[in-house]
Symmetry: C2
Subunit: 454 residues, 2 copies
């Protein structure tokens, strides 16, 4: 390790940082997992830098933890075994944008919001929206998705190709700029969601979309979670191309009203968005409204005004903070199961019953058309009884999702928090994953201890 630090210092100069404050900032994310600082933080400026850093670390078996914006919710960036955090924030170039091809080539450190500001000048947008202003590299490594996935897909569908530095310092490209290819194994999809355990992503070719001519937002409250979920299922089943379809439970609406100044009924509520032409969004919103009414929905209000849309979606995106604000001084643990949509209402109903028995508040937020929902558990981080209650709640929720044919993680990943849940979910398939990990990272230096328990 000492040798590695010396070599890194020679390579990077003051782009290697070892101060307690910088190490501390790189040893935590937005989860409630305890901080675990790296021994040093490297700030590469190029793919060549990254490759050299990896080669130096490989010589001494030093762990390497890629770092984007630190917005992970599962402890992905925590240096639980020490080592070097590789902060890619200086590699934030937007290298190419092609409006004809609807693609863009970017460095991993560019942030989602900055990318969209740039793309907007070309009449384009990048669709994946996890809420947080994450980096594109982090989103690719985590396999991020979010509110628009029902229409535009997750990172899995929106990454065309990657440049990756492997565990021995080799630089590979996983694909070409062709939109479609079956040239060998799908390395792109293997690295998307690999959480930094197979290599470091140093460039991302993304699919982008033209900004729709017209966008309409809608909001509607329901007498029950089931009525809201049934509405979402029917909308998707009928092929209405809804662009966002988010459920907030009564607690979530209470939090949003208080934190974001909404004045919506505090009942289960769907937030929806439609993208298209003036005629098509009107047709889609009207059709969705009829389905909502048929399921007992209240006043179905839709609007194309930018102001109304911003009001709704800011409130939705701020819910992570709105939930915490229900209880001053609290932290939050966010769960992430996904189930087949036909089982979603049952899964949420049973989860709401568990929430009623918790000694702290919790809200439910769902990417409901994907069958994916979060509970935000608003607990005091240093209260062991509350932590224990949260752990039991989460274990029951994961078991429930598995029993209903679902997954322990729809979009947040395994990190360090769901390693046992992964084995419960996929059994022997995890053995195949371990074999792939050993094949590409025989020294186990790439973000060790993430995804797999040892």
């Amino acid at each position: 390790m000492t040798a590695a630090l010396g070599d890194l210092r020679a390579l990077l100069g003051d782009r290697l940082q070892t101060s307690a404050s910088v190490r501390g900032l790189h040893g935590r994310d937005e989860s409630a997992h305890p901080e675990a600082a790296p021994d040093a933080v490297a700030f590469p400026a190029s793919t060549t830098d990254v490759a050299e850093i990896v080669k130096i670390c490989a010589r001494s078996g030093t762990p390497i933890i890629p770092f984007g914006a630190g917005t992970s919710l599962e402890g992905h960036v925590l240096a639980t075994r020490g080592g070097i955090s590789v902060d890619l924030s200086a590699m934030d170039g937007i290298l190419a944008v092609s409006p004809s091809d609807l693609d863009a080539r970017v460095q991993p450190g560019v942030h989602r919001v900055a990318l969209n500001e740039h793309l907007g000048k070309h009449g384009l947008f990048f669709s994946v929206d996890p809420g947080a202003d994450a980096t594109i590299g982090g989103m690719a490594a985590t396999g991020a998705s979010g509110t628009t996935t029902v229409r535009y897909g997750s990172m899995r569908e929106n990454v065309i190709a990657l440049e990756v530095v492997l565990a021995d310092g080799t630089v590979i490209r996983t694909g070409t700029r062709a939109r479609k290819s079956v040239a060998g194994y799908d390395l792109t999809r293997l690295f998307v969601g690999s959480e930094g355990t197979l290599g470091i992503i140093t460039e991302v070719t993304l699919r982008v979309f033209g900004i729709p001519e017209r966008v309409a937002a809608a909001v509607c409250s329901f007498p029950s979670v089931r009525a809201a979920v049934d509405t979402a299922i029917t909308i998707v089943q009928l092929g209405i191309p809804v662009a966002r379809c988010e459920l907030l439970d009564a607690n979530g609406m209470r939090a949003a009203n208080a934190f974001s100044g909404l004045s919506e009924p505090e009942h289960p509520t769907l937030f929806l968005e439609f993208h298209g032409t003036e005629a098509s969004v009107a047709e889609d919103a009207q059709a969705a409204g009829e389905i909502a009414t048929g399921n007992g929905g209240g006043d179905f209000r839709w609007s194309v005004s930018q102001e109304e849309r911003s009001r709704l979606w800011s409130a939705r995106h701020d819910l992570h903070y709105a939930a915490r604000a229900l209880r001053p001084g609290a932290t939050s643990i966010v769960t992430d199961v996904a189930v087949p949509v036909s089982r979603l209402a049952a899964c949420i109903d049973e989860t709401l019953a568990d929430i009623d028995a918790l000694p702290f508040p919790a809200v439910v937020i769902g990417h409901v058309a994907d069958g994916n929902f979060h509970t935000s558990l608003v607990l005091m981080g240093d209260d062991q009884a509350e932590r224990a209650a949260a752990a039991t709640f989460t274990e029951r929720l994961t078991a429930r999702a598995h029993a209903l044919g679902g997954t322990c993680t729809g979009e947040h990943g395994i990190g360090i928090g769901k390693r046992r849940a992964l084995v419960a979910e996929l059994g022997d398939a995890v053995g195949a994953m371990r074999a792939l990990k050993r094949a590409l990272d025989p020294l186990n230096i790439m973000n060790p201890g993430k995804i797999f328990e040892e």
Copy 2:
């Protein structure tokens, strides 16, 4: 091998076949690659059978070649090193269909057309349409796509999870029924397109769609390939949700008129399809028509009649045979490059110039909105000069696609025909693929010699 045959005979009885005719049928596909028959053909009836077959073959290092419908175009099913062809046609069950979840669970031997007949009773359809009536297992293993990929995606986007028998006989499930998951590495996408080289797919969970309320087909001829391609690019760029968008060049239209009884102008032509409501397909068709007219397109005719649609799409799907019929006694070699759409017109123009210099006819057919096009080279299979001309043409085409940022294969795969092109395309990334192959199949018994040259 003798021991393996004895053990397989004991396991399968007369579900192990060694007659020359059965072996011959399993030693060829729809490509022009020379027949290579397996030593025997096994007909498993269950996943357990498949696992036992694999265990028996593993003991003696006997090659295993999974076989679906034999409609591959790259020699995937050829037993170039002998061994056991595992014909999955008896495993053709449709195990579950969920209209609420828009998914279906099927065995690998079910054919695409049969699946769609079954799904139709539920108001559903499976979208991936490569033309041939392939099996779902074969389509998953090849990473198939086709005419509807621009709207609904390829197998990559439409396989939710797989059951796979690994090279040591272990049976794994790569995912749950959740529509969205980031639980560990994306094994589903690793096996999709792996061409039988990593394991045998024994069950597939598929995404399906509701049959659209209204379908409209359109046809329009253009003064040049470039005008047709520009039309397609603009349609996609403006977000018009076109469901199919196929280019036929002048030779292709000549073949289709002759073989399928069309009477369309023999100019570059787009076949399009729109899915939606009565209002939306009218809006989409009208918008597409205006774009076509702006690019010099002729009469843009669209129709919602089933008869007109069948006429057009049957002609499109029969083009593989229509091309061969241009020259009695001929066979065909089909190329498969894909490039960024902005480079597509240039790529096709240069390719048409090469076609003009060929000593045999050739047609161009393109999934143009995906940047993917085929040339069908209509040659005499036993004419070495024609074979050599075809090889030179294909090498030039692949190099052209690579120079334009594209891939040697958009949807047909590597098989035995594009192994060197894969290395030219992805370089060191192929080393990573080989490492994955060794990790999951250390004995190299799963379809050896495909994807990788040795």
